[in-house]
């Protein structure tokens, strides 16, 4: 199965070439030569006479027709090339069947080549692309067409447990770097004929295979169309990962918030597809994009699906609480210490004042220093080799924290605040969201230092207004709450876990807001019913 994981991507590439061939040839696409030696020489030259290009000349069967096979070492499956291409052409082909009205090419195509996918190529662009994607291309003497067989293979990472999104109870497989494998992982989970897969090729140099997958009937067509448009309008030289693609297709560029999410878990993608979202696979990365998402989706983990509903709801609540702590923790401390001492209960205030007596800095500077140190430690911990990394962060934090308090530079309350803030930001299941919260936390601290709670309130209004202005594939980012979707709320209340029942299909019925009213009223029951049925139990 995994010998040819790229089959899907390859097919798409080929199909597109075939579709556009007549037009492109008249557009000045360079046709093949008819002489074999010229063809072989040209392709070698075109690929810079690279040592990993293998050119094999031979004669077809017992006939005297000369032919040449070209493939690239390393990305082809050697066994396939030997067994299904060279052997079948050189030994098994029986030229007695080769009558006069049939060309050698169509004979090979119909009778001799025992590979699954075979295409006839007419211009150099498609030949070179085929060779570079791991196919074997066969040129035949006196023929200005070539034939390609799918022999993709070579070394690939096997499916292993995802390293970034760990769950306690749930499937252990994760996506790999191969788009074909990734698609197959989803195909195996959703055996529905309604699953649609649409291929794209992005990047003039990298020609990266990109595919969108969705469940027909669950997704509003306008959403799919919008995504198609965006993908088709990307003009770029190289696409090296889904982060890059995310940047290219997101709705608003000027925002710290991720408006597309990514996952390396096939079970998460499956749930997203069944909930009516679109998945964007990118070849070469295990992280695949999901759109459209809402802000609240970032606080759900696929783990929620594997827990008891009550526990899942409680844990989600916990995540929102940790969001608030990691966003407001240090700034509330700064505001309370600097502007609103009267709000702190007196005994606590006394103990805080005693601690701060020896501290020479204002609370803001103190907090900034500690937060900054914490961020450095965290970054160092990630980049260091695994064995040292943890030691660095733990020892660094303990030693620095304790020493700073004892030296009277920092109050111990501040260490607690920074620590709880840091831990809270780890509780966020979406890494990219946690990153933006980290950034905004510093802004909050500045606002708190300038104007106390008033500053925090003002910045929060701006922040919420900013989030309300965001859209993900045209769907408002704060959907569920703003615009408020009563249907979803009801599901939230009746079936407790937010992840299980309060999913977004309802919301997606409002792609453009001017259609919202009136029409949604009639559609909800039907779509919500089909939604629950479609879920695997």
């Amino acid at each position: 199965m995994f010998k040819h994981p790229d089959r899907f991507a390859n097919k798409h590439v080929r199909n597109r070439e075939d579709d556009s061939k007549p037009g492109r040839q008249s557009n000045g696409k360079m046709p093949l030569f008819s002489r074999l030696t010229e063809n072989l020489a040209y392709i070698k030259n075109e690929l810079g006479d690279s040592p990993d290009i293998i050119v094999r000349k031979f004669e077809i069967g017992t006939s005297q027709t000369a032919a040449g096979a070209v493939y690239m070492d390393g990305i082809t499956d050697k066994n396939m090339v030997n067994q299904y291409i060279l052997q079948s052409l050189m030994l098994d082909a029986d030229s007695r069947h080769l009558d006069q009205d049939q060309s050698v090419l169509s004979y090979i195509n119909d009778n001799a080549l025992s590979v699954g996918e075979v295409f006839i190529l007419k211009d150099w662009d498609s030949v070179i692309l085929a060779v570079l994607s791991g196919d074997t291309v066969i040129f035949i003497e006196d023929t200005d067409e070539a034939i390609s067989g799918n022999t993709k293979g070579g070394e690939q990472r096997t499916i292993s447990e995802p390293s970034t999104q760990v769950v306690i109870r749930g499937p252990k497989d994760g996506f790999t770097e191969s788009i074909g494998t990734n698609v197959s992982l989803i195909r195996r989970r959703i055996k529905s004929p309604n699953v649609r897969l649409e291929p794209f090729k992005i990047g003039t140099e990298t020609k990266t295979a990109v595919a969108i997958m969705y469940l027909q009937g669950k997704v509003e067509n306008s959403l799919v169309q919008e995504l198609r448009n965006r993908l088709q309008h990307i003009r770029i030289e190289s696409l090296t990962g889904s982060e890059h693609l995310e940047e290219l297709i997101q709705d608003q560029k000027m925002t710290p918030f991720p408006t597309l999410t990514n996952t390396e878990r096939p079970d998460a993608v499956t749930n997203h597809i069944l909930d009516g979202r679109i998945v964007i696979f990118v070849d070469g990365t295990p992280f695949n994009l999901i759109a459209p998402i809402t802000f609240f989706k970032n606080f759900q983990s696929v783990e929620d699906y594997y827990m008891r509903p009550e526990a899942a709801a409680a844990i989600q609540f916990l995540r929102y609480a940790s969001l608030l702590i990691s966003l407001f923790g240090p700034s509330i401390y700064i505001a309370a210490i600097t502007f609103h001492q009267e709000m702190i209960p007196t005994p606590l205030l006394l103990s805080l004042a005693a601690q701060r007596e020896s501290v020479p800095f204002p609370a803001f500077i103190e907090a900034l220093m500690m937060e900054f140190t914490f961020e450095i430690l965290r970054e160092a911990g990630i980049r260091m080799p695994r064995a040292i990394g943890q030691a660095v962060s733990i020892v660094g934090a303990l030693v620095l924290g304790q020493a700073a308090v004892e030296a009277g530079i920092i109050s111990s309350a501040m260490v607690i605040v920074v620590a709880i803030t840091g831990i809270s930001s780890f509780a966020n299941p979406t890494y990219s969201m946690a990153l933006s919260i980290r950034l905004i936390r510093f802004l909050m601290m500045v606002a708190a230092a300038l104007l106390g709670f008033y500053g925090i309130a003002i910045l929060s209004i701006i922040l919420i207004a900013h989030m309300c202005g965001l859209t993900s594939l045209g769907v408002p980012y704060m959907t569920h709450i703003a615009p408020f979707v009563p249907e979803d709320q009801r599901k939230t209340l009746y079936g407790l876990p937010l992840t299980k029942k309060a999913e977004i299909p309802q919301t997606f019925a409002i792609p453009s807001e001017n259609e919202t009213n009136g029409e949604t009223d009639s559609s909800p029951p039907a779509s919500s019913a089909s939604h629950t049925e479609g879920r695997p139990s």
Binding site: Q252, M343, A465, C468
Partner: protein, 368 residues
């Protein structure tokens, strides 16, 4: 991004409630705040509903037109244009008054070292930002903040209940001075502020697509908000007593300062401040938006969002320069409440309705 702008009924509901809360939640309302304010609010409510229905009726008659649009349709461009211009000024002025009230409470409560201009400037930034972002964002923010506001309200209500500071006897005697003061406080005072102020929603009605339920949604929102307002003011009287309530500059603040529950919730002042900031923000932004919408309409601006900057700047300046002190601001407020408010928010709309009905009748008789 050019997006179709449409407001959902929930959003309208949320915004009306937030708008009504505005400063009315924190400030004493009515000219002569007495222990019966809670009753006056309920008595003034029907007037507010009628006025709202009037603007919902206009919205139905002229579905795609702004306030200035139908003023010009009804009385003609030559009278309608200057009236619309005056509306811009009125809206900017009220917006700046709201800002001043918030700024003064903030300074009185915990920012006595901070200059007024800084407090005001900080507040105007989100206003400009949201007006710039457009009506859709404004109303979405409203939905989120309604939830926050209700949560804050519930928290302080429970804390007040638990603190045991409530003494229902403080509410008695109900109407100890007879019907007249209570009624007088309701009409015109409370009717004008905050109910008549809803008239600025006329400028967002073109964005509300389900015109047939505009009236119903607004009515439910007005009833909800007046019941909550009435409850709050009644609660204030029960906690601090009629005497203190009448004299306090910011009664809710005084009330919350006295609440001590469970050794833990000691100082809920921040909640009042937060409620005030939120309320004032929405009220100001609504007015600023209304001013921008009318200005864009009568001066034929294609890009309404760019008006957010000048209007924000003017609001900021007016808020700082209109009065030297809070008492002066307050006195001026009662003067304008009895002169400008009735004319622009009540008399003018009723006149418009009459002229509109006459014209309609007239044109019906004519074979079209």
């Amino acid at each position: 991004m050019s997006k179709p702008t449409a407001i959902s009924p929930t959003q309208l509901f949320a915004m009306i409630i937030l708008f009504e809360f505005g400063t009315a939640l924190v400030l004493p309302i009515g000219m002569a705040p007495g222990p019966n304010v809670w009753l006056s609010i309920l008595i003034a409510m029907p007037g507010g509903i009628l006025l709202y229905l009037l603007l919902a009726y206009f919205a139905k008659q002229y579905p795609s037109l702004n306030l200035s649009g139908y003023i010009q349709k009804i009385v003609g461009v030559y009278i309608g244009w200057p009236i619309s211009l005056l509306f811009i000024l009125i809206f900017i002025y009220i917006s700046s008054r709201n800002l001043r009230e918030a700024g003064d409470l903030l300074i009185a409560s915990s920012y006595d070292q901070t200059p007024l201009a800084v407090v005001h400037a900080a507040m105007i930034i989100p206003v400009i930002y949201v007006v710039y972002k457009g009506v859709n964002v404004l109303f979405r923010v409203g939905e989120i903040y309604l939830i926050i506001m209700l949560a804050l309200g519930a928290l302080s209500f429970i804390a007040t209940l638990m603190s045991g500071a409530i003494d229902l006897k403080n509410l008695l005697p109900v109407m100890g001075e007879g019907w007249i003061p209570t009624l007088k406080n309701a009409y015109p005072n409370i009717f004008l502020f905050p109910f008549a102020e809803l008239f600025c929603f006329a400028t967002i009605m073109p964005h509300f697509k389900q015109k047939q339920i505009a009236g119903r949604t607004g009515m439910i929102a007005i009833i909800t908000s007046s019941v909550l307002l009435s409850l709050t003011h009644a609660l204030e009287v029960t906690v601090v007593g009629a005497d203190v309530y009448t004299r306090a500059t910011f009664p809710l603040f005084t009330v919350i300062s006295t609440v001590k529950a469970a050794e833990f919730l000691q100082r809920l002042d921040a909640i009042v401040i937060l409620a005030l900031i939120i309320g004032v923000f929405f009220k100001m932004t609504m007015y600023a938006y209304a001013a921008a919408a009318i200005a864009a309409d009568i001066f034929r601006f294609a890009e309404q969002r760019s008006l957010a900057y000048p209007i924000g700047a003017v609001i900021l300046l007016v808020s700082i320069m209109s009065a030297w002190s809070y008492p002066e601001h307050s006195t001026e407020g009662s003067r304008h409440l009895l002169s400008l408010h009735p004319f622009f928010m009540v008399i003018l709309p009723v006149l418009l309705l009459i002229i509109h009905l006459i014209r309609k009748r007239f044109s019906h008789n004519r074979p079209a």
